[in-house]
């Protein structure tokens, strides 16, 4: 494949997702991911913690033992779960539930 095709392919792939456009239009405060902050409020959805505990057990243990929620602070879990979202190709809905469970369970 000629080299000029690759940038076009890459650009097209990125544009097809519409993600950067969404971020540019909404600004950092209103990115789809930023909206997830409200979605991780168990006060609005008490069952989220239950779903999160289930997803945590099913998802994380596919590759490694389960860390205790108390090992990390809320901030650290936020970063760690994002890292695992990318590494493990986790669905965002599962990520939000797992994060809510871990932050509600770490006693910090």
């Amino acid at each position: 494949m000629k080299s000029c095709i690759f940038p076009a392919f890459t650009l097209a792939t990125i544009l097809l997702t519409g993600g950067p456009a969404a971020i540019a239009q909404s600004g950092p405060e209103e990115t789809p991911a930023a909206e997830s902050a409200a979605d991780t409020d168990p006060m609005q959805d008490p069952m989220q913690i239950v779903r999160g505990a289930k997803a945590w057990n099913e998802t994380c243990s596919r590759c490694h033992n389960l860390r205790s929620p108390s090992e990390l602070t809320d901030e650290e879990w936020d970063v760690s779960v994002t890292h695992m979202r990318v590494r493990g190709n986790l669905p965002a809905s599962d990520v939000r539930d797992i994060l809510a469970f871990l932050q509600a369970s770490n006693n910090q």
């Binding site: 792939t13 993600g19 990115t31 902050a37 409020d41 809320d74 760690s80 990318v86 590494r87 932050q103």
Partner: protein, 447 residues
């Protein structure tokens, strides 16, 4: 008419109208009969009772009003206490966090390798792999990992395992740019850290000089699409791709720049028909150039293949439920004929087609439900068998082609700290190459 007549008429009218009334009034003022008197007395009693009831109702209303006020005070107090306590850790999530958050993680291991091998029994310093994660709000993550190790002659070797920026595009897509671990297969991207890997080393063919790509530099689009309990995952990558080594092999790791303008295209599709089962397929295609030394005779026009197609495909599966983890991976790569300079042939040599094939199956089981013993709970036996074959490169084949069996017992000191003891039998497939039996101990810690 005279006044006298008027007076007479008025008096007569009054008399006619008023006299019967006067007569009636005279009758009412007379003592009532006994029945009427009883009724009147009864009416007076009822009026008294009604007055009492009115008083009681008023008193009840006043009591109810006081109770309502007391209840309202209690509700206000509860709300006040909730306001003071509810921002606690259980439900305080993202809104109170800073824009930039970070997390230091990684793993390290130390160990011992001995047995019937070509080398001496030796303690090994293992690896130290710190990884750094910096996240901006909820949509951008930088992650990078170094690997430090001490070589046999005491030198410290370091390598940037990956250094990537992840941009969360939406719920189903993340854009990854930089140097990243190869998304081909499962082992390299997810299972190789020593606190995750159930065995001391990589399966045959899945480490260095194997068929498994280690990393690449480029751009990835990856994510997941959930549907009920099923999940579809994808990782599509465009990168610099592999490169020809000075030994005539193929180096599958992320380079800081490309040696040609052809980019590799590859990735992996995974599917979870149920939460415990994952199946996947991987593919990579690229072109690799031969190495041209500056003083090498230019073979242009000779019809020699100065570059070659490289492609790789594989399948994988994993079943993980409770204490059981069973895995299988298969990878095969092919590179066409290639004219290139090598360490042994600096003026160039035409290499034949190169094929590599590797697979492994692994089963581990944590004995957590077998006994009340705390020690038994922490034990995890593991068995892995794999094969790695090479054709088209005799030196690589002699050095690496083998059937490998691992049997080990792990003891988990903590969920991320494991002590491993195991045996590894290497049955080299090239005739004349002596087989090896390794005794391996390793202590791995994920942090």
């Amino acid at each position: 008419m005279t006044c006298a007549k008027y007076r007479s008429m008025v008096l007569a009218t009054v008399a006619l109208i008023g006299l019967p009334a006067l007569a009636q009034e005279t009758q009412e003022q007379s003592p009532p009969d006994p029945q009427t008197a009883a009724l009147l007395e009864r009416i007076e009693q009822l009026e008294a009772e009604l007055a009492d009831l009115r008083g009681e109702v008023l008193q009840s209303a006043e009591t109810a009003s006081k109770a309502e006020a007391t209840a309202q005070d209690a509700v206000d107090r509860i709300a006040e206490v909730q306001d003071q306590t509810s921002p606690g850790p259980a439900y305080a999530v993202s809104p109170g966090m800073p824009d930039t958050k970070w997390h230091l993680a990684g793993y390290a291991d130390v160990g011992f390798v001995g047995g019937d091998t070509s080398g001496p029994d030796s303690f090994v310093s293992g690896k130290f792999n710190p990884s750094f994660h910096f996240q901006y709000k909820d949509f951008l993550l930088f992650e990078g990992e170094f690997e430090y190790a001490t070589t046999g002659d005491g030198e410290t070797e370091s390598e940037l395992e990956y250094s990537q920026i992840d941009l969360v595009l939406n719920d189903h897509a993340v854009l990854v740019v930089g140097k990243y671990l190869s998304p081909i297969g499962q082992f390299q991207e997810r299972l190789h850290p020593s606190w995750i890997n159930k065995v001391q080393g990589a399966p045959a063919g899945f480490g260095h000089d194997g068929v498994q790509p280690a990393s690449d530099t480029g751009v990835q689009l990856r994510g997941s699409i959930p549907a009920g309990v099923t999940r579809l995952t994808y990782a599509l990558a465009v990168g610099n791709g592999p490169r020809t080594t000075s030994e005539g092999g193929v180096e599958l790791m992320g380079m800081g720049s490309d040696d040609n303008s052809n980019k590799s295209i590859g990735g992996r599709i995974g599917f979870f028909p149920m939460p415990a089962l994952e199946v996947g397929g991987s593919y990579l295609t690229a072109r690799v150039d031969g190495i041209m030394n500056p003083d090498m005779p230019v073979p242009s026009g000779s019809g020699l293949p100065l570059d070659a197609r490289f492609q790789l495909w594989g399948v994988d599966a994993a079943y993980t439920k409770g204490p059981l983890a069973a895995r299988f991976e298969y990878l095969k790569s092919e590179r066409g004929k290639l004219f290139t300079a090598t360490d042994e042939e600096p003026d160039g040599v035409l290499l034949p087609d190169l094929e590599m094939e590797a697979w492994y199956g692994q089963v581990s089981y944590r004995l957590s439900g077998f006994s009340d013993s705390e020690i038994i709970h922490r034990l995890e036996p593991v068995v892995r068998y794999g094969e790695f074959s090479i054709s088209g490169h005799p030196e690589l084949e002699e050095e690496n082609a083998q059937n490998r069996l691992n049997a080990g017992l792990n003891y988990w000191l903590a969920p991320t700290i494991v002590a491993k003891a195991g045996l590894e039998w290497r049955d080299y497939t090239v005739p004349g190459v002596p087989d090896e039996t390794l005794i391996q101990f390793q202590l791995g810690y994920g942090f």
